[in-house]
Amino acid sequence: MRGLLLRLEPLIWGLFGGGMFVGALLLPAWCLVAGVLLPLGLLPAAEFPILWEHLYYQLSQPLGRAVAWSAVALPLWAGAHQARHLVTDFGGLRWDGLVGGLCYAAAALGSLLAAFAVLAL
């Protein structure tokens, strides 16, 4: 298993890197603005008009679906990768193949489900 993971590392790390970008940078900013600051009136709604119908329309376009899928799936890979490294950092190197396999399998499953959800938009 470790050998396979090692061969797939560039792909995994690419997904992880993308996930960190989306999940640690873009999503929190979006959640902060759209989920906290605007509803609480801490930002002037007039200057940050979020047209939800328009957004929904965009997200149901092919490119929009890809964006929505990335926003869900990529952070899953980042989380899986982090969790795997966390186990190693706590001395679990000998289970790395198993842990890595399980983490990425979960991320892959989540990505698949996200794909179904996005296609249903």
Binding site: R2, L6, E9, P10, L11, W13, G14, G17, H85, T88, D89, G91, L93
Partner: protein
């Protein structure tokens, strides 16, 4: 110069006599401007000639005086004693086998470094008549930071991955390999690629960034490793396109 005393608690270990490392305290009359190394040299010269520690240049260049001071990896020739209280603990660098007292075994590191071929490799040897290989300031800037490493091993003592994965090539070795890959005069990246992305290579790094925090030369080995990962991802992706093209 004002003088007062500090307790320097030094980790002692003689593999021929001791089963385990032990701490030995020395009362040292220190001067205000002393570095940690000067207190150790005082102990060696005036209190206990059996103490073993490494040092040479005393100016943060040779990289031989790295030790854990109050648990943190430091270059002792650069680390002011005044940064610490009345009791200072000096131990050998973590994550290395101890040869004796404060002296650690670097053989493992040197093997890893050597395996990464840290020298300029050319696809074809140039004849002297062809003249020197020129490099622009911009090309030099690409890798200069990563070439400042003095092999002091502070980054290995700080790295949680080195602590857990004995095969991990480690921050300094990988940063140095990346430094050669970035060098416009070098053509050896392909020869380093397999070991760099193999077991214990760049992808073992979990980017704890401890190496960059402790590096006395601002090498930023963690940054070098992330760059090397990215280069690896890109060349992996490119390999599909090139293979496809070759196939069609």
């Amino acid at each position: 110069m004002a003088e007062h005393t500090k307790i320097i608690a030094v980790t002692r270990f003689d593999p021929e006599r001791d089963d385990a490392p032990r701490s030995q305290e020395y009362e040292v009359p220190v001067q205000e401007d002393w570095k940690v190394l000067e207190a150790l040299n005082y102990i060696k010269d005036h209190l206990d000639p059996t103490l073993s520690h490494r040092w040479s240049c005393r100016m943060a260049v040779c990289g031989s005086c790295g030790m854990n001071v109050n648990g943190e990896p430091k270059l002792t020739c650069r680390e002011p004693l005044s940064n610490y209280g009345e009791r200072v603990e000096v131990a050998p660098l973590a994550n290395f086998p101890v040869v004796r007292d404060l002296v650690v075994e670097l053989e493992g590191f040197l093997e890893k470094l050597g395996a990464l071929k840290p020298w300029i490799m050319l696809a074809k040897q140039r004849a002297p008549e062809e003249g020197a290989t020129r490099q622009s300031p911009a090309e030099l800037a690409d890798f200069k930071q990563f070439s400042m490493c003095i092999n002091c091993m502070l980054c290995y003592a700080a790295c949680p991955v080195v602590a857990n994965e004995p095969d991990f090539l480690g921050p300094a070795a990988l940063a140095t390999a990346h430094r050669y890959n970035l060098d416009s005069r070098d053509e050896g990246a392909a020869q380093r690629a397999e070991i760099m992305r193999g077991e214990g290579g760049v992808f073992s790094c979990s980017y704890a960034n401890e190496c960059a925090e402790v590096c006395p030369k601002n090498v930023d080995p963690a940054g070098a490793i992330q760059q090397a990962k990215l280069a690896n991802v890109l060349s992996w992706a490119r390999s599909f396109v090139v293979r496809r093209r070759a196939a069609s």
